[in-house]
Symmetry: C3
Subunit: 366 residues, 3 copies
């Protein structure tokens, strides 16, 4: 087989994605572009990212050449479950690790939208937000929080996930018990349903890392670009260094290639044994930037630590766009590395099998 | 028309540049290279940037092949006004938005050096530095400062500009009135003609953003590389995040592609609706880096938010070098995106018209 | 001559490297991959960086195609001195500037492993760590420390080197005498053989910069990626800005291209007259990333300020891999810049001679 054929035929393990959700007609006909930007953009801008333009081409491929309004009307008419199954089937995805934090669709319900095997990931901030209102003390909260994470990893869940990057940033610090207690009191006093207090959020991820280590299960961190509520300075994965070294026994996955801090993310991955690098979200959002993303990640990081992911959510098109983009660009990167004498053809093929499938199977013990 | 032809024939709106100025003979024959580096470099280094080497080739094209000293002697002999008009005419620039903060040439005087339409931009630090010595209190200063900006935007000026990146950095914070009052007192007490006090400079840009919002006029920020007095850490546009979100009603232009933080600048532009990204100064200074600059900006940012600019100053060669470089590299980026299946030819052409001209017309209401 | 021929035939001055050291058999047969990652990686990952895969290809070229274990067994059997001489001879290296801080081989002993001229560089943290235990006061320590650096630069040593990036980070600040005195007391009180106290380490590099300036000798800073004990945020060369401007009379070399902050390092180099940029370690570690490294450095930095280096250490293969990689990629960058019209062939050749050899001869006064 050629590099191309190995990349094309290896089943995917998508190590980070979200469920597809049923959509009101208006969300398709009026604001479909919003699914293809992480920004809070008016339609005049949201409709003009390359990611959305490529999506329109994909819809034209599905429904025939037509103007945008017609394409979206066709899209609004599909049977959501069969359309999603058909699209995700096309990707050749064997297993999807599903972040249960968003959207409001259980992994079980998601099963109606895909034939792939689904393995859930538990988002820790959602757990904390559910448990906090009923908690009577920090100690009691901690016990229920740790128990739930422990039960999850002892059961079906294959990993934990944190969105601390969105909340208080990746400069996670260690805090003494008294500081945590005060933070807990402050959070409870001002409770608004959302955990967003620097010391308390730091505390949650330290707890989660310990639980994950006890199961040898990974903890995933959102890093890099994302929604408008993330501070673009503090999503930089280098800020996580103290935490990463303090939890050397916890396998940690930096999500999204840390884009735009990809070379820095590769450096951290190359330096600390417990760190892995996922390439989702940037795949497919940055489109022609996916090829350099893959190439840059390979500059320093061991090939055994890179992971395919789509971070697809809500609409099945993201699954297809991610898989097509990644397979095309991984092929071109590996072809070039082989042509330029860096790697043999057989090693290129082993890199492909690793990134697309085998590295995730080993890491998540699938 | 082909992509090439559209890029070549679309008139430019240069959304950020400076006036050409008359030069003493010595500044041409002895230190001409200084115009082509932002650094404070001895001639042995200043003469060896690629930006200056390309400039020498341009002079050879104008005056015939010769050694550097001869070329500079020819350059010193030109009639400054007609030489400048001829060079700027070559660029196909329809309109230039002129920063009035530097050099010491009014936009009216600049009219002798170019046939392009000139629309002034008001640099806010210069306003503050002019008004401060005569001010009797913070309140009185504020009234005259706001009035001047308001009058400017109500009159000929199309935007405001701040160089806070050079002075106290882009981590602009909100300060209470008492802190601003103390900062004002400190600035007055130590007055040396220059506004460079973190709290006071932050305060000025908050005021300017409010005035700009009331006119729906943009506020331009220097971001990215520049003179030796800018701290290279604090010119990073991600540091501006709190300010950008606090002033969601103010259109804000990140100048210079934020180079070398271009992908980060594109991410901010893609995330916050009110943020736009100009590609000047890096065009043409980074030369073979302009092609990746354009390509990286297009990874995440909507195509409707990118703006051509030269940031040319003092010498008309910078206008030509920027326009040639940008047209060549925009063509090659769009050709590649089309060839690789990301965009149709007609969409590529609409991107070109947008970046070169139409996005600026819409944003600045020209 | 063509660009290729000039690059291929110019003798190298390697402005930053380390001695080759004799290796126990086990270090070759069991953990040879560790020399090709800066990380602390288990073998299952360390064996899968591209840098190590290329090394295995090199060993196959030396010893014939064979599996990894066989290649390493052959490698363990070589005569270390003649093998090293042969390999370094192949690189065409005329002069090596040798960091004396690591490994534990004197430049004299290193002479048995290479025919190149060796010129030592004095690592200041090692000096401080040797002198501190015997010092009786800050003043006494300072006198012996300054004297030793002064004697070194007055003698055979051609530069100083600091690893403050690894210890307390590049945000070097100025401290008053009382703060330094307290830091000195703290370091002495808790003496464990290692200088790692922010104020005290800052103080050492300020002293070293003054001594270097008095000899017009360079001070080298580790910047960018490195071992696991460096904080990846604080190895960013932009953090060094205040120090660089405070020591404008000291030639300062930013090592390793500041990777992954290469464009930022180029910006600093282009802005401050006293700053130079070495491209070692990233060459050859980032493999296919070396070509963009060179290209990015040339975007803003004067061609007269860029320096070839290998940062080879312990094993002679790193000398060969660096030299081959750099010559190949410098050729391809210069060929492309010439083909795209940025530079003439003769200027490309002068860039090559400068970066490979002449810039270092001028800077270090060799």
């Amino acid at each position: 087989m050629s590099i191309h054929d190995v990349v094309a035929s290896t089943p995917l393990v998508d190590n980070h994605a979200h469920a597809v959700e049923p959509l009101d007609r208006d969300r398709v006909t009026e604001t479909f572009a919003d699914f293809f930007t992480e920004g809070e953009l008016a339609p005049k801008h949201a409709r003009h990212t390359l990611n959305y333009r490529v999506t329109l081409d994909f819809l034209a491929e599905q429904f025939g050449e037509a103007d945008e309004a017609t394409l979206l009307a066709h899209r609004a008419d599909v049977d959501p479950e069969s359309y999603s199954r058909e699209l995700i089937d096309e990707t050749g995805t064997e297993t999807i690790l599903v972040d249960d934090g968003f959207p409001d669709v259980t992994p079980d319900e998601f099963g109606a939208y895909t034939d792939a095997d689904l393995r859930p990931i538990h988002r820790i901030e959602n757990v904390a937000e559910r448990l906090l209102p009923a908690s009577e003390s920090l100690n009691a909260f901690e016990e229920t929080f740790v128990d739930e994470l422990d039960d999850a990893l002892g059961g079906d869940f294959v990993a934990l996930k944190t969105v601390i990057a969105y909340r208080t940033g990746l400069q996670v610090r260690a805090h003494d018990r008294e500081a945590v207690r005060q933070a807990y009191d402050e959070v409870c006093r001002n409770w608004d349903g959302r955990v967003e207090q620097p010391i308390f959020n730091d505390y949650l991820v330290h707890l989660a890392a310990d639980v994950a280590a006890s199961h040898d299960a990974p903890l995933q961190f959102h890093t890099g670009f994302g929604d408008a509520d993330a501070h673009p300075q503090f999503v930089n994965p280098t800020y996580l260094y103290e935490f990463l070294t303090a939890h050397a026994q916890t396998p940690i996955v930096l999500l999204h290639g840390g884009y735009p801090y990809t070379r820095a993310a590769g450096y951290v991955t190359a330096t600390l044994d417990n760190v892995y690098l996922d390439l989702s979200l940037a795949t497919p959002f940055v489109q022609h930037g996916v090829e350099p993303l893959i190439s840059q990640a390979l500059e320093l990081a061991p090939t055994t630590k890179l992971l395919y992911g789509s971070d697809a959510f809500s609409v099945p098109e993201l699954y297809v766009l991610a898989a097509r983009r990644f397979r095309a660009d991984l092929t071109s990167v590996l072809d070039r590395l082989h042509a330029d004498g860096f790697i043999s053809e057989s090693y290129a093929e082993s890199i492909a099998r690793g990134i697309l499938r085998e590295n995730a199977i080993a890491l998540y013990d699938l």
